[in-house]
Amino acid sequence: MNQEVLLQFDHVGLAYKRLLKPFAPKSWVLKDISFELYRGEVLGVIGKNGAGKSTLLKLLADIIAPDKGEVIRPKSLNAQMLSLNLGFNPNLSGYDNATMSLVGLGKSIREARECMPAIIEFSGIDELMEYPVKTLSAGEKARLGFSIAMQATPDILLLDEILGVGDKDFRKKSSDALKERVQSNQTAVLVSHQPSVLQQFCNRVLWIENGQVKMLSEAEKVLCAYEKYQANKTQNGGIQQKSVAV
């Protein structure tokens, strides 16, 4: 594997206040995270709910800054979350919204126009593109959003689950497109609850537990340990529950 470091987390920590009060205590979602992301790799992230996986993605996307530690990255590095919430203006046409979203994702107006045929083809809603987006069904909107998002070409693609959208056919088409993208040379970070998904796509996996790196290694090793840990916990949980019942 190419060992060029693209981005590095150096003892990163991040705390949220859960209440809107001046002296509300802070709770540390991420306490001490350090890892490196290499060019061309697919890094998986696993951990239970509330482990800070989504926060980690936002830090990677440079949307938020950490409270301690540092995210070391070249200034021109472009990391994008694949997002279907592109801030559509419901009163404007699919064309207008697509152009606005693409410029929001860093393209020029001209480049955005050049992407249009591909978007129309992938979304399959050619005849609806000139109508206000508010007249589209939820599924059609999701198709349009996905087709636009797939036109973005970030240095690092950030994914919260590989999920297809829309009806059955389009769901397959969209998740296939994502899979293909992840399996190409694209550097990606993939968050998932399913070890099998991470196993399939990732070179390495980062396991976060209590805001800290529990393990970072080859996918197989980490996932094996994670599943063992989960099984153990369920078992212990079961025993505890039994003893309570007694």
Binding site: L20, N85, N91
Partner: protein, 254 residues
């Protein structure tokens, strides 16, 4: 300020206008109709004896304050909440935050151009000659734009942290309406009251419109020293806070 940010601002500002136009049956006609109705209403109210007369001079006096201040109110009430309104995309992707209030202020300025044309036509129709002095209105417009932008930056930079402030925005707009000297001539008030009212920088702006359009005088940048200073101070303070908290806003806005 990258080229991409500028394209983004331009596209979104025009898109807001376009959406506005497509959101009603009359569409673009409303941009003229709304100030026209207001003008008509004021004309009726103040010339038909409802307030005991006043004549066309008084109507023009009102219009020169009312139409510009409506521009300001529209800019501040949307621009001041710009980050809250756009929290969806702010949480999904990085954007420099000054972009969002700027977009709203530009949209509202483009809309005001329609009202401005209407104002000029009314002044002309009611017997005031068009003169090259009207060109100096440019200074008044730039000054007001700067103030609108500055105040919007300042409010948008703090509303995500202190949401309570967005409750104050309508009251502040109303306050602007009453203290900018739209309904009365500030110069006819007692000196001490004048001193207090002149803390409001929009007083100078409203006087600027009247000076050029009604009193046949030229506007000069020096007449707006306080407003310039106020606008620049707000703009810089707002921009500094927006820049400083650039990557913290998405946390408060989720």
């Amino acid at each position: 300020m990258t080229n991409n940010s500028l394209q983004f601002i331009w596209l979104r500002s025009v898109a807001n206008l376009k959406a506005d136009a497509q959101n009603s049956y009359l569409g673009i006609v409303w941009w003229l109709l709304e100030p026209l109705l207001l003008t008509g209403l004021i004309y009726l109210a103040f010339t038909s004896g409802l307030r005991g007369g006043g004549g066309k001079e008084f109507v023009l006096f009102l219009l020169c304050g009312m139409l510009p201040i409506k521009w300001t109110i529209a800019s501040i009430s949307s621009g001041g909440n710009a980050l809250n309104i756009n929290k969806g995309i702010i949480g999904q992707s990085y954007y420099p935050k000054w972009i969002f209030p700027t977009i709203f202020v530009i949209t509202m300025s483009m809309r005001f151009m329609f009202a401005l044309v209407l104002l000029l036509l009314t002044v002309w129709q009611l017997g005031y000659p068009v003169s090259e002095l009207w060109l100096t209105l440019f200074y008044v417009l730039v000054c007001q734009l700067l103030l609108n932008l500055g105040v919007s930056y300042l409010f948008s930079s703090v509303t995500p942290i202190i949401p309570d402030i967005s409750y104050l925005l309508p009251t502040i707009s109303m306050g602007l309406m009453f203290t900018s000297g739209i309904f009365f001539d500030i110069n006819e008030r007692p000196e001490d009251i004048q001193a207090i009212l002149r803390l409001n920088p929009y007083v100078e702006v409203v006087e600027g419109y009247r000076r050029v359009l009604l009193y046949g005088e030229a506007a000069h940048p020096i007449q707006f020293m306080y407003a310039w200073g106020f606008g620049i101070a707000c703009l810089v303070a707002g921009a500094v806070v927006l820049k400083k908290l650039d990557r913290y806003y998405p946390r408060w806005l989720t």
